[in-house]
Amino acid sequence: MRGFVIKEFFHIFRDYRSMLILFGMPVVQVLLFGFAITNEINDAEIAVLDYSKDNITQEITNKITSSGYFILNKNLEHEGQVAEEFRKGNIKEVIVFEDNFAKKLEKNHSAQIQILSDASDPNTANLLTSYTSGIIRNYQQQKFSEFSLPVEIKPESIMLYNPELKSVFMFVPGTITIILMLVSAMMTSISIAKEKEMGTMEVLLVSPLKPWQIIVGKVMPYVLLSFVNAITILLMGFFVFGMPVQGSVILLLLESLLFIVMALSLGIYISTVSSSQQIAMLLSMFALMLPTILLSGFIFPIENMPEILQWISHLMPSKWFIIIVKDIMLKGVGILYVWKETLIIILMTVFFIFLSVKKFKIRLE
């Protein structure tokens, strides 16, 4: 078994293409998604509807527009203009200050800001509102830290055109999911198919090795490498894009491990039905990658899909994994909160392992 794993590592380290996919891919993907999305919100055009027009609202507006992320496109006069401006498509966000903002803040230690965003592009909408809220919080801390009583500015964000968008959506969970799927499923299915193509599988079969030994020997290195990848992405998310893990890192890694095993068993299953590397590659592309990207909620919100696609999305292991990662990373929840999703992935894993061991042939036909 040890010999098998060593040999597998040789294969991986000697093939620059697989090295590229294994280690180049995660970095490139994270950077790509990361910068594509941050670019999106550089110089985002916004409008302000200020019913109060006092010092504080002016200061907050200045603070937001000087942040570098936003450009003030227009000052609105009344609520009726909001919908119109959004429809024109010039602006991505409207900030609404309630009337007597400064006074209320002084008297009640509380005032309201509404952040309206165009959530037909949910990723951007999410980022914009969270940036705006961040700037307002920041302002509040600097300005009122000397006050004895807590002062609260309540930013209330409202997603327009996509009101059902519940979860905070970020690219790191999606990228982790894609990478783990790609590396685990695609690489293993290709590497097993390669043994078939080269004829070495014949020799492996005509040896005392049991099918599970061949399978475990083939996938072990990929478990390890995928795991390294998951950690790389988390580190990059943190250091390059400042995205901390709110919840337990250990829990997150354990969940990743579970997902990796699931993806590997899928990969093995694919390899059992493909006779060549090309077929394995195509199958993983179409059967795994595209659904993962399109149906998991990574790019397109599941709530917006036609009902039938929503149903199909339930069958996507990646959908559940993205939920888990998001919840742990961004909401900081524990296992009690994601046990259902975890259970679903466990069941899927068991199912695919069962299927691939059953399908893995001890003979050639």
Binding site: R2, G3, F4, I6, K7, F10, H11, R14, D15, M198, G199, T200, E202, V203, L204, L205, V206, S207, P208, L209, I362, R363, L364, E365
Partner: protein, 301 residues
């Protein structure tokens, strides 16, 4: 059931194509047994059945007394198998290939070095070279070393010499002769008829059927026709002239001459001589010769 390999009425089809039909034979212990036939004759299918990679549709096959269908696990422990394409890991070095194949049989190269020494020592100077960068002959030696490393009692070599040059082929057969002396039973398939003479016994196979099984001498002894070697000055034209000759049964090129058989009961070589001279051939030589396995194979086709 003392035979290392025994096959009884085995048939195998792929969809509609019959790959093997009703094959039966036994191989004796320590025998070098050749399966001789062109591509597509069913050689690989037969080997794959014997090494438990395929199940026969009909009939039974045994290796060292174990049934290839339900006792495949036992068989996989004791056979060495070298598939048609040398199944080596091209991106691993010579040494790494050896270590890997030793490890899957739970042994080490060190432990069984004496088994492969004769062959492996020839490629050992290149042990850090990747298998993909070896010449055909060296790949062949490495593949054989890998198939031997776990001390198998029966060795299955599927076309080990195909596409390999004449020198490497000759060396390979010399290695097999030495292996045989260690008591290993060896089954080897080949499309090269001239290699038949190097086996103890051979099966001539064509279109999934065994045409004859015997020692090379026996096969040649069973050839009943009178075979003539014909040579003249004009070797390009002779084949057509012989085909026009009324008594010609067969006329095939064989190296620098023509092998000729006649339809006549008692062939008259003088008449052939005068026929050829009449066609303008000079220096006609007609000699009756002993057939080789290739002549026999063609006669059986």
């Amino acid at each position: 059931m003392n035979y290392p390999v025994a096959i009884k009425n085995v048939s195998k089809s792929y969809r509609k194509v019959k790959a093997l039909s009703n094959i039966s034979f036994e191989v004796n212990k320590g025998e070098l047994f050749g399966i001789i036939g062109p591509d597509g004759a069913g050689k690989s299918t037969l080997f794959r059945i014997l090494v438990t990679l395929l199940k026969p549709d009909e009939g039974e096959a045994f290796v060292e007394g174990y049934n290839v269908v339900n006792q495949f696990k036992e068989i996989r422990k004791i056979v060495g198998y070298m598939p048609g394409r040398f199944s080596l890991y091209q991106d691993l070095s010579v040494e790494e290939n050896m270590n890997f194949f030793a490890s899957i049989f739970k042994t080490t190269v060190k432990e069984n070095y004496h088994l492969v020494k004769d062959i492996y020592s020839q490629i050992e100077p290149f042990k850090t070279r990747l298998a993909g960068k070896l010449s055909g002959g060296m790949k062949q030696k490495l593949a054989l070393s890998c198939a031997l490393i776990h001390s198998p009692t029966v060795l299955f070599l599927d076309e080990p010499t195909t596409g390999v040059d004449a020198v490497s082929r000759k060396e390979f057969w010399e290695m097999l002769q030495r292996l045989k002396q260690q008591g290993i039973t060896i089954l080897v398939s080949t499309p090269y008829m001239d290699e038949a003479g190097l086996c103890d016994r051979v099966a001539l196979i064509q279109n999934g059927e065994i045409m004859e099984i015997d020692s090379p001498e026996g096969i040649i002894g069973n050839y009943t026709k009178n075979l003539y070697k014909v040579k003249t000055d004009k070797m390009f034209e002779i084949i057509n002239d012989l085909r026009d000759y009324q008594y010609t049964d067969t006329a095939y090129r064989f190296g620098d001459s023509i092998h000729f058989t006649s339809k006549q009961e008692n062939p008259d070589s003088d008449e052939l001589l005068s026929y050829l001279q009449g066609k303008g051939h000079d220096n006609v030589q007609i000699n009756e010769i002993k057939p080789d396995v290739e002549d026999c194979f063609m006669a059986l086709m």
